[in-house]
Assembly symmetry: C2
Homo-oligomer: 185 residues x 2
């Protein structure tokens, strides 16, 4: 948990999932960021039009997950279609969810991602209403040990299909690239 | 300005600069994010211990800039040293600043970056005190046309030295990598 912030530190596009009353949904979000180290906190922007936001507001819990290069099409579809318009959105996008229990909540994780952060909403009504900005405290986190271990990403030695995605617009992403190490000043 | 959010959309580490009363400073920040499209807004986390935060609070203006792969050592030094401890921090790091006037404010831009966003603080005292979280509205933005034009990054065709940086920890960054384009679903 001390290193959970590092899962988001390099600015990946994330998938946001949530569940309430038997409904589960996932959306994509480029506007998500680490906010604090300990306890780890995060921010994410959730537009009022999204079904996922309704589920987050109802349950008080959301999951941020870091999708991989091989999930680019999945990520784009989850970001472009709404559960409001397509009740079979998840099946059509090919998203497979696994429910896990964390602190009395059942939360849906998207299979195949590189990392998952389960977050409890820290209610900030003004941020949520004025800016669509939600703050969460990370209450559980996991990562795929092929690409994140000992508190560090290892994109340079892991399969390229596991690189994180960084969205621009119009279906264009960049995968994360080469490692650059600077000696301490 | 309609495309200013795209300068941050892929989650680069940024340099935050500010000036007040003849003092100028620059720090590095991995925790910065787009917040809105129009007008473009951003978030950035500024620790209370930083001199840059004091200058932002005094002037009400800050600049987010996107440093490049060839500025990795500069970025790390600006993030690791404080003006409180080293009055010659900028010179020691090799940072060169250019002052520009935007809406009655004189703001320092760091030379050699790939993009610059001048932001006016939208005061949110609770966020600033509780979370060290600042919200800014972008009032001017520029980019290096070699790597950003027509509202899109062109990392794949620009010199590799101009790629954006994505910080992890301990002096390790990743440069942004390959372009992945998904057809609209």
């Amino acid at each position: 948990m001390d290193k959970a912030y590092r899962l988001l530190n390099h600015g990946p596009t994330v998938l946001v999932s949530a569940a309430h009353g038997g409904v589960r949904n996932v959306m994509a979000a480029a506007w998500s960021c680490a906010l604090d180290f300990k306890p780890p906190k995060v921010t994410v922007v959730l537009d009022k039009a999204t079904r996922t936001r309704e589920l987050v507001e109802a349950s008080g819990v959301f999951v941020l997950q870091v999708p991989t290069a091989q999930q680019a099409a999945l990520t784009h579809q989850l970001g472009n279609r709404s559960l409001h318009d397509d009740p079979e959105k998840l099946a059509h996008a090919g998203a497979r969810l696994v429910d896990v229990r964390v602190a009395d909540a059942s939360v849906p994780l998207v299979e195949g991602c590189a990392a998952w952060l389960v977050c409890r909403v820290l209610p900030e009504p003004r941020n949520e209403q004025v800016y669509d900005l939600f703050i969460g405290e990370v209450i559980a986190a996991w990562a795929d040990a092929r690409v994140f271990s000992n508190g560090h990403w290892h994109f340079e030695s892991a399969p390229p299909a596991l690189r994180s995605l960084h969205y621009i617009a119009g279906g264009q992403f960049y995968a994360i690239g080469e490692s650059i190490v600077v000696q301490n000043a």
